[in-house]
């Protein structure tokens, strides 16, 4: 065997696949483990044989960028290997995503929780932008959540670098509801500001618990956007009527964000507004956002471990705990043991109780801000 084949075989042996957990547009995702340590991982298997042009672009982009980007708030690519005609990406295993959390009606978000998710999103994004990488597909279900509560930017299948100024790019990126108006108008030269708009939409969605600008078509997306934020004037956004796909979609008045986000603080609305500025060059950058007063005002961001968790996350952490207990008690005899009865009770005391009280209090406020 060649050196390269040998190295690949050795890589492959480091990981085991346990069960299928999901199916994406171009891949099947398995839960697996690192053989040596038992560490849980996700293995994303991409069938390459089916593409007549070989390795497909999404896979190429995802591997290219994740290989370079190592940051607490960006999903970690642990390994890549091939098996026959498949490409396998070994990723850190993440229990859930922000979309599932937003949709879980049993959870109540405190303003501090939203602040924490926003801080982690901006940190991950600032790192990407500092490395000249545009994500181009930010939306709640691409913000994955680890068992310790850390939020990670994932799915770099549409990412690209932007160091080449003045190189035309496609405007067919970003899921519609999170797509900024410059892309809807067909701009081919754009920047980091496109990702910031998406983050603004996610920010709003965290407060509203429902998508902020749910357009039904590309045309309707513009209308929905302008209905919410007012139709931009030439002064708001110089030159936008010259963009390739510009069409007038009607005059809508500007309504202050305050009218929809009744319970939000002034800092909150100020940052939200800066993410949703029409003129891309005036939109806030990820770096500036991180030093925005919003993040320094009370309440401070929740510690990631204290953020609301979905039932499946709680089940996963309980299972992990039980597995731990079993290992503790692993003698030479039969191994399977139930968790000691007082264990769960102990868990419920302290933080969790404080938390559920706080949630109740928050619930009485006019809106989940």
């Amino acid at each position: 065997m060649d050196v390269v084949e040998k190295a690949n075989a050795a890589r492959q042996k480091r990981w085991t696949k346990d069960r299928k957990v999901g199916e994406g547009t171009y891949a099947v995702v398995y839960q697996g483990r690192e053989a040596a340590t038992g560490r849980k991982v996700a293995i994303k298997k991409i069938k390459v044989g089916q593409f007549k042009d070989g390795l497909d672009m999404s896979a190429v982009r995802e591997v290219k960028y994740l290989k370079e980007l190592a940051h607490q708030n960006v999903i970690a690519l642990l390994d890549v290997f091939s098996s026959k005609t498949n490409l396998n990406l070994v990723l850190e295993f993440l229990d859930t995503d922000l979309e599932m959390i937003i949709k879980d009606r049993s959870l109540v978000f405190l303003p501090a929780d939203i602040k924490s998710w926003m801080a982690m999103t901006f940190r991950g994004l600032e790192f990407c932008h500092r490395n000249f990488v545009l994500h181009r597909d930010l939306k709640p279900n691409n913000l994955l959540i680890a068992s310790d509560g850390q939020l990670k930017l994932a799915d770099f299948g549409l990412a690209r670098d932007f160091a080449d100024p003045g190189y035309k790019m496609t405007c067919q990126v970003i899921t519609r509801w999170y797509r900024p108006p410059e892309l809807l108008f067909g701009a081919r030269y754009y920047s980091t500001a496109v990702d910031i708009w998406s983050v603004g939409c996610i920010f709003a969605e965290l407060m509203l618990r429902t998508p902020y600008l749910p357009g039904e078509s590309d045309m309707d997306q513009l209308k929905t956007t302008f209905r919410a934020l007012g139709t931009p004037t030439e002064e708001d956004w110089p030159g936008h009527t010259k963009l390739p796909d510009y069409v007038p979609v009607g005059q809508f008045p500007k309504t202050p964000l305050r009218e929809l986000f009744t319970a939000a603080t002034a800092d909150t609305l100020n940052l939200l507004g800066k993410c949703l500025i029409y003129e891309p060059r005036k939109r806030i950058s990820a770096k500036e956002a991180l030093s925005h007063p919003y993040f320094f005002a009370l309440p401070y961001p929740s510690h990631p471990s204290k953020l609301p968790k979905t039932a499946s996350q709680l089940a996963a952490s309980r299972m992990a705990e039980e597995a731990e207990t079993n290992v503790d008690m692993n003698g030479p005899g039969p191994a399977v043991k139930a968790a000691p009865p007082n264990r769960l009770k102990r868990k419920m005391s302290g933080d969790d109780i404080g938390r559920s009280v706080a949630r109740k209090l928050d619930f009485s406020q006019p809106a989940a801000a």
Binding site: D2, V3, V4, E5, A7, N8, K17, D18, R19, K20, Y30, V48, K52, D53, G54, L55, M57, V60, R61, V63, K64, Y65, K67, E68, A70, V80, S82, S83, K84, N86, R130, N131, F132, V133, R160, D161, F162, A163, D164, P165, S191
Partner: protein, 351 residues
């Protein structure tokens, strides 16, 4: 990434070089594709020696004594052959009008490939075609395989695709490359704001000439030994030594000029395309000493295929046995049987 210290607008040019350096140091290029001259030499020497030993034993297995009068390639000869194919990438890129980033990336891929493989196993002609095709994708300038191969004489889509995995694996799937021409561009933007202004014509002339040297540097080992900005500055110094020095002084990095001189010497000394006669002779010998296991249809190739197939058969049998056992073990408990069967169905045959 694929870029070093390139500001998105000229305005950022001021806080360039040093503040951006940590990004480069976190890159796979910095971590995995930089060597000392000794390491680089050793890597190639070992690769060459091991390959010869393996091929020799394949020949001997086929017919004893058959390897004794074969003149295998030395690693220096391997390098000469690869160099020639580096220049072919440049030609093809001109033909396709690919941007410089595609060309530079493909060349890095080809050179990196031969730090993991030998030309006696994989001829650079096909590897070059695959490296270039892969580079069009990784730099976001994709072209259909059909359009690609139909424009290259005597090339079928399978010539490119068959090696794509091997090339990607050899690169350790590290597709991002930090380029010298990008670094040069950063320096050039900077140079427009020197304390004592430089006339624009001189700047332009220096830049154009430096860019030629950047092309030359690509046929050398410079990228494995030095950083993109060091190579860029060396190319500028070859074009306009005084300008390079003034830039370095303004940046407070004139202490580096000694290293820069070394790079410049290397670029002029090694940046020479080998003559056609020399390469033709190497290629002639390569036909006699290339690994028969990689020659489709040869006895050794068929033997190797059979071996791989035998191993796969053993693996399949073992897996079938495992499944049978799992089913039997689960038998007393109906639900577990289903579970077991489902788990097995989820993992498909090729894992």
């Amino acid at each position: 990434m694929a870029v070093e210290q390139v500001p998105s607008t000229p305005v950022d040019a001021a806080n360039d070089t040093l503040s951006k350096r940590p990004l480069y140091e976190g890159s796979t290029q910095y971590q995995h594709w930089r060597f000392s001259p000794e390491q680089l030499h050793k890597t190639r020497e070992v690769l060459n020696t091991d390959a010869i030993a393996a091929i020799r034993s394949t020949f001997e297995a086929d017919s004893p004594g058959s390897s004794s009068d074969i003149q295998f390639l030395t690693y220096e000869e391997e390098i000469l052959l690869v160099k020639l194919y580096v220049t072919k990438i440049t030609q093809l890129c001109g033909h396709f009008r690919f941007p410089e980033e595609v060309e530079a990336t493909a060349i890095s891929y080809l050179k990196r490939f031969y730090l993991k493989n030998t030309v006696m196993d994989w001829h650079p002609k096909n590897v070059m075609l695959t490296a270039l095709f892969l580079a069009t994708k990784t730099t976001n300038h994709p072209i259909s395989l059909e359009a690609y191969t139909s424009n290259i004489p005597r090339t079928a889509p399978s010539d490119v695709l068959d090696l794509e995995f091997l090339v990607a694996q050899s690169l350790a799937f590290e597709f991002a490359v930090w380029h010298v021409h990008r670094a040069l561009w950063g320096i050039w933007l900077d140079a427009q704001d020197l304390p004592i202004p430089v006339p624009p014509e001189r700047l332009q002339q220096a830049y154009d000439s430096a860019l030629q040297y950047v092309g030359t540097s690509r046929i050398t080992d410079a990228e494995f030994l030095f950083t993109p900005s060091q190579i860029a500055l060396a190319c500028l110094s070859l074009a306009d030594h005084d300008l390079a020095l003034r830039w370095a002084t303004a940046k407070g990095v004139e202490a580096n000029m000694e290293t820069i001189e070394k790079v410049a010497i290397m670029v002029t000394r090694d940046g020479v395309v080998p003559s056609v006669e020399v390469v033709r002779e190497i290629d002639r010998r390569l036909r006699l000493c290339k690994n028969p296991e990689k020659v489709v249809g040869s006895k050794a190739y068929i033997a190797k295929l059979a071996k791989v197939e035998r191993e796969a058969e053993v693996k399949r049998a073992r897996k079938a046995e495992e499944i049978r056992k799992a089913m039997e073990d689960g038998d007393p408990f109906g639900s577990e049987l289903n579970d077991g069967a489902r788990v097995i169905a989820d993992l498909d045959e090729d894992d």
